[in-house]
Amino acid sequence: MEGLLPQLEVVRKDFPILERTLAGGVPLVYLDSANTSQKPQCVIDAMVDHLERHNANVARAMHQLGAEASAAFEDGRDRVASFIGAPSRDEVIFTKNASEALNLVAHTLAWATGDLAVGEGDRVVTTEMEHHSNIVPWQLLTQRTGATLAWFGLTDDYRLDLSNIDELIDERTKVVTLTWVSNMLGTVNPVAAIARRAHEVGALVVVDASQAAPQIPIDLAAMDEAERPDLMVFTGHKVVGPTGIGVLWGRREVLDQLPPFLGGGEMIETVRMERSTYAGIPHKFEAGTPPIAEAVGLGAAVDYLAGLGMEAVHAHERTITAYALDGLATVPGLKVLGPLDVAERGGAISFELDGVHPHDVAQVLDSRGVAVRAGHHCAKPAHARYGVQSTTRMSSYLYTTPSEIDALVEALEYTRSYFKLG
């Protein structure tokens, strides 16, 4: 099949979990990568080597282990910076996950003074297809500051409804936040065009790249400044990295202007009981002992992706997604919620199967080793928009093979027969 990763079978050998069998000796068909990705051996090994040979706290330690651990941790930052083409490595801040990164921005905007402050009468704009992690922080921010939350609705063909963009984005708008790729619909949003419009009115643009970073080559430095986000987040565990680490990238001027979020060790310049002054970025936003082994693992993870080539990963994702859309179309009563054109979508495909509830679909699939997600995928508003309470979602990644898609389609047929449908 044209477009697959070269040497896919060799690549799969990098992921130990893919050799697992499940209850009844069934091999694993992991199609839940939009939820969390599997980890290659090199990521696990990097963390183990760190813990077994170089473990120490960072920044503060004067000894050899401390120097090694600090170098490894900061090297993780360098690798992440290069993975997203960050204009400066100091603009890369480690958080615990994408959710914390989004909350960091929303919280500090509540306390910000000057230009960035969000207060009474200001507007924050999000979209109806966001993950809860890009809705709730802004609800909290606007509720707490007296600002207004507004949002782009969705069209019947699963895109952002941009018809009222000029009402939503005007001089009152301080923040426009949106997901690059939807984790439910798969839709790829026109981030550049929206950023351009938002920048015209001086609004800050926050992009949730949690589903984009795993699939799409990102080069921030190469973007036209007018179209470049001001802040962008993603999460380690979806880019073949470990849990416990996320990334906030921000334009230096913005990060410099934001007040601190969490206070404590490492984020200070000097502390007196009466008052403290704060370190520069990135440390200003990294209070306490950071996720050290996790940064080492994430560094190895983005290096692994870069080694495969993000263009190749992207091509693979599209190829598998196209193949999956074709396969799903053969299943009677199956309806995909999301764009059907691979050029306009990512790899998460949510669907309904007439007459079987998504949990029951997932359960029967699981008995065949096929792991998918069922539920609202932390996107209740998008589900509500399309009048459904939950869906089944398959999501592939760089290690997914066409025959795994065949297994999914077969298992769906089996599900229909199990529930005695036609």
Binding site: L22, A23, G24, V26, H357, P358, H359, D360, Q363, V364, D366, S367, A374, G375, H376, K380, H383, Q389, S390, Y418, F419
Partner: protein, 154 residues
């Protein structure tokens, strides 16, 4: 999970209740209505309770509900209503207790058919931690609603 486990989970009784749920649809009269959600998956139930009788000796006169959810959660609501409607609250609470014990037993509890009737079909669910919440959704809602009525009367 093997095909066998699957059959243990989806007992005929469960699929029957799922296809033909008993007592579904909200009805009057009722003294309390609650809305419970399974945040993990979004399953929802709105459930009403109508009690009659003296404080301390109430009877479950009616339970009605509306729900969206999977076969397990739908069937379990249906079985719940069969089991509790018409019983003294005390007895119904004991049945609730037995069902809870069964569900939380990780598959090690032997269900008592005399007490749980069709409810014994859920024994297989106890082996699926992710599905236990589905089976318990309406039961928790019922307990909550009943407690509210009793509190308000007191």
């Amino acid at each position: 999970m093997t095909a066998q486990d699957l059959d243990a989970l989806y007992q005929e009784i469960i699929l029957d209740h799922y296809k033909n749920p008993h007592n579904k649809g909200l009805r009057e009269p009722h003294e309390a209505e609650v809305h419970h959600v399974n945040p993990t998956c979004g399953d929802e139930v709105t459930l009403r309770v109508h009690l009659t009788g003296e404080p301390g000796a109430e009877t479950v006169a009616d339970v009605s509900y509306d729900a969206v959810g999977c076969s397990i959660s739908q069937a379990s609501a249906s079985v719940l209503t069969d089991l509790v409607i018409g019983r003294p609250v005390d007895e119904a609470m004991e049945i609730h207790e037995s069902f809870l014990t069964l569900m939380q037993g990780k598959g090690t509890v032997e269900p008592d058919e005399d007490v749980l009737e069709d409810g014994i079909a859920f024994a297989g669910v106890a082996k699926f931690p992710a599905r236990v919440k589905c089976a318990l959704l309406s039961w928790m809602a019922w307990k909550d609603a009943t407690a509210r009525v009793i509190e308000e009367k007191a």
